[in-house]
């Protein structure tokens, strides 16, 4: 029995039992599924995006493609799924059911209108159904309907307008879900704030094209002979998600609570988002890979981390790393270092030699007899590419050199 650590968080004024949420997607498609997720430990859900019944939604088939890298499965996931394909009424009934049976768990209905009027209708309907808060989906990268999805997220005036529309019909906290397919997310975020949003969630999927079939030249997923540019998610996009969360967190003018999304599978990923400013985190591909049960590992892992460091509340961790995110121009480049080799543990594979020669400072010589690299310190660029390929953990580490140390200049031919 693990000693209970309090993981509850307050996000946009709403108290969550823990920061772990399902993001809006097939993993949050119905009350039957979400109830099981709550039982497994998830603290809240962004319910699969609701639309009005005016334009019926039919998903392409098949609708996803899993990207593997070497032996590792689902490093990324490509999907062409649309918003919910269920009717509005059944979805609203499901939301009401969840709130009745899981009053302490948080249901955030995600909505997407195809017109100003629809935004208002959906916001009102979801409020009446008993949602705790609303997520405004300005970010689906592959909606087949004009004037919706990411196209809105890329047009700041529309973000503001639709947020205002929702604001006018409901008192519930509004969270704008933004697309990473922009240069600067702070612009739409500020527009959402101006429209009355209480928080921002990011990121939705990254527009991508993950694989092409070499036999028939069709990009994946292959929807009866056609591929397309569509939403890419999973561990591969985590650095992109972290970037946007950090940028939003650093924007003092914005100052809204954040929900971090993108490539979260473990408590470590979740904590990184939290340290960069997220109060809650949301997951889809992690659940597509492992099922709802991963939340148990997230809860136990984060609890142990907090207990070990005597951190009482998740809130004490939120944004802790933000002040350490700087512009690269702030770096002190007078301090320099090199790679340090602990050759006692070397197994003699020689990968370091290959990459240092072809991609680094050509600072290594190779002793063929002993099968060991020999470093000329003055040539080491501290790029550390050797350490990335070394199979022995921590054999190659970074060490700082004294101020007086000088790196040799790169050889010029001709």
């Amino acid at each position: 029995m693990l000693k209970k650590v309090d993981l509850s968080v307050k996000f946009c004024g709403v108290t969550f039992p823990n920061p772990f949420m399902l993001s809006s997607s097939p993993v949050s498609n119905s009350a039957e599924m979400i109830a099981r997720a709550f039982d497994a430990g998830w603290g809240g859900v962004a319910y699969k995006t609701l639309v009005t019944d005016r334009i019926p939604i039919t998903h392409p088939s098949p609708r996803m493609h899993g990207c593997n890298y070497d032996g590792k499965r689902l490093v990324g996931l490509q999907n062409v799924e649309q918003t919910t394909d269920r009717g509005l009424k059944p979805n609203l009934r499901d939301i009401a059911y969840l709130k009745k049976h899981y009053p302490k768990h948080i249901v955030m209905a995600s909505i997407m209108g195809f017109s100003n009027r629809e935004w208002a209708d959906l916001a009102k309907a979801a409020t009446d159904a008993g949602s705790d808060m609303l997520e405004l989906n300005f970010s689906c990268p592959h909606m087949a309907v004009e004037g919706s999805g990411a196209k809105v997220g890329q047009a700041n005036d529309l973000v503001r307008k639709f947020t205002e529309t929702a604001r006018n019909v409901t008192k519930l906290p509004l969270v704008a879900k933004l697309t990473p397919n922009v240069t600067d997310m702070n612009e739409p975020a500020m527009a959402a704030k101006a429209g009355g949003a209480d928080g921002i969630s990011a990121i939705n999927t990254v527009a991508g094209l993950s694989e092409v079939n070499l036999d028939n030249f069709i990009p994946q997923p292959d929807v009866f002979g056609k591929g397309s540019i569509s939403g890419y998610s999973g561990p591969a996009i985590k650095p992109i998600g972290l970037r946007f969360i950090a940028q939003l967190a650093k924007n003092k003018e914005l100052g809204l609570p954040l929900s971090g999304i993108g490539g979260i599978e473990t408590w470590v990923d979740a904590l990184e988002y939290i340290l960069l400013g997220a109060t809650t985190v949301q997951v889809t591909t992690g659940v597509i890979h492992y099922g709802y049960g991963i939340v148990g590992e997230m809860i136990e892992g984060l609890s142990d981390y907090m207990a070990q460091r005597k951190i009482a509340r998740v809130a004490d961790l939120v944004g802790k790393a933000v002040k350490n995110v700087h512009e690269t121009s702030d770096f002190n480049v007078r301090r320099q270092g090199i790679a340090r080799y602990d050759l006692d543990r070397c197994v003699g594979c020689g990968q370091c030699y290959t990459v240092c020669r072809d991609a680094g400072g050509s600072a290594l010589d190779w002793n063929a007899k002993k099968r060991r690299p020999a470093l000329t310190e003055a040539k080491c660029l501290s790029c550390m590419v050797c350490s990335f390929v070394c199979p022995v953990e921590r054999l190659i580490t970074f060490k700082e050199m004294p101020k007086t140390w000088k790196r040799r200049k790169t050889v010029t031919l001709g």
Binding site: L2, K3, G71, Y290, E297, E300, G301, D304
Partner: protein, 420 residues
């Protein structure tokens, strides 16, 4: 970690069902995979207080790893190795999931319980009880706890240091150890009278079975004495083996341990004498192969019939008769029958008898196994429970851990019923 990556994270994990002690590999590998390392350690140690020793010693090929779905596409996940890694890692990072405030230990109100025998069964029972608030005293005949793990299994397979660390995990739970304290035949009842609310008996099998009706004499030793003297660091085993040809009689794990130990003690040649064939040996395949590779000579299809003595009564060799396999016997294996006139003598300067262990004569259950319900450890006497080898006959560490745990649960139920 790379090994955990190979795990298929099966739904309704079959490996977890393959473990007698419910150590739950499906869960701990999944936790490891999802970077919940402390949680993984917690799963191992909560379910199996000797998770480290089991990781090293379990015959995984016929337990958890036998069930592994990965064998359908590749080779099994090496579960034992992962389990051992996790336990060693817990020591490295100084994390004992069962103590140090990570556990809400209930107050020691549930009562005092006595455990007789500090082997796997007793240790597991003691740990489970202590975790649930009982004050537990372990009475152990020998100088240190551990049972076969301390005085049987040779150190090259399970180091004393490793065992010591795992025993510390038990001690950290507040279990009291009274070592060098043998409990006699009337002991369990006496302990009940002294105020212990329940007694668990896990005394194992420590009397050697003699192959030739008790005859022994110079140059011959039982596996029990041989391994125990070796583990106690006594010079006798080395003296017996060094520079000599050593015969080991038997085909089980214990015989293999004796043979490999004899080699390490400087024996010139070690013959493992077994009356059936290689594939019929009860010893696990991996240990058989290791012994072969290390240089043990397997002398199969030979039935020992007695000892040959020199003029001064010293050991000259082992008398053998060759056998052949005939029809199936009661155990379903083909039966060895002697080939008439094929008698011969294997010259040997020392012989280790390793044909099995049985309950000790001057003990709690003189010369007999104790009969107890395998699911609860309950014996016919109220308040007295038993488990491990003294109930099942020669078994495994993990089965004994399972027995100890099951008995502890039954004891807790008894104590709770008494309170309510």
């Amino acid at each position: 970690m790379a090994e955990a990556e190979r795990c298929l994270l099966c739904h309704d994990a079959p490996c977890s069902k393959g473990c007698p002690a419910s150590t739950n590999p499906g869960e701990f590998i999944r936790k490891l995979r999802l970077r919940n390392v402390m949680g993984a350690i917690r799963t191992v140690k909560e379910n199996n207080i000797l998770g480290g020793a089991c990781g090293v010693l379990c015959p995984t090929a016929r337990l958890c790893e036998k069930e592994c779905s990965a064998t359908g596409i590749d080779r099994t996940i090496r579960i034992g190795k992962l389990q051992r890694f996790l336990v060693e890692h817990s020591w490295k990072i100084g994390f004992n999931p069962l103590s140090g405030g990570r556990f809400e230990l209930p107050p020691p109100a549930a009562g005092r319980v006595a455990v007789i025998g500090g082997g796997p069964a007793g240790l597991s029972c003691a740990a489970e009880l202590a975790r649930n608030g009982c004050r537990v005293t372990v009475f152990e005949e020998r100088a240190e706890a551990g049972g076969v793990l301390r005085y049987g299994v040779p150190g090259f397979r399970l180091s004393t240091e490793f065992l010591k660390k795992e025993l510390e995990d038990v001690k950290a739970l507040g279990v009291t150890f009274k070592t060098s304290r043998a409990v006699g035949p009337g002991g369990p009842r006496g302990l009940l009278k002294k105020g212990f609310r329940a007694v668990f008996v896990g005394i194992g099998l420590w009397a050697p079975i003699r192959p030739f009706g008790g005859e022994q004499g110079a140059g011959v030793i039982s596996s029990v004495s041989f391994l125990e003297l070796f583990r106690r660091g006594k010079p006798a085993p080395r003296k017996l083996c060094s520079g000599k040809t050593v015969a080991v009689i038997g085909g089980g794990s214990v015989a293999i341990d004796c043979a490999r130990t004899a080699l390490r003690l400087g024996a010139k040649d070690v013959y493992l004498v077994y009356r059936r064939s290689f594939s019929q040996m009860p010893a696990e395949e991996d240990e058989r192969l290791e012994a072969l590779n290390e240089g043990v000579h397997f002398l199969l299809l030979n039935q020992p019939t007695g000892y040959a003595r020199d003029k001064r009564g010293g050991l000259a060799g082992v008398k053998l008769v060759r056998t052949r396999l005939s029809g199936k016997d009661a155990s379903g294996r083909r039966k060895p029958v002697d080939i008439p006139g094929s008698d011969w003598v294997l010259e040997a300067g020392a012989c280790i008898e390793a044909v099995g262990n049985k309950p000790e004569e001057k003990s709690i259950s003189p010369g007999k196994l104790i009969s107890a319900d395998p699911a609860t450890g309950k014996t016919s006497a109220a308040g007295i429970y038993a488990g491990g080898d003294i109930v099942r006959g020669p078994g495994t560490v993990v089965q004994s851990v399972a027995d100890g745990k099951a008995a502890a649960k039954a004891i807790l139920k008894q104590l709770k019923a008494a309170i309510c």
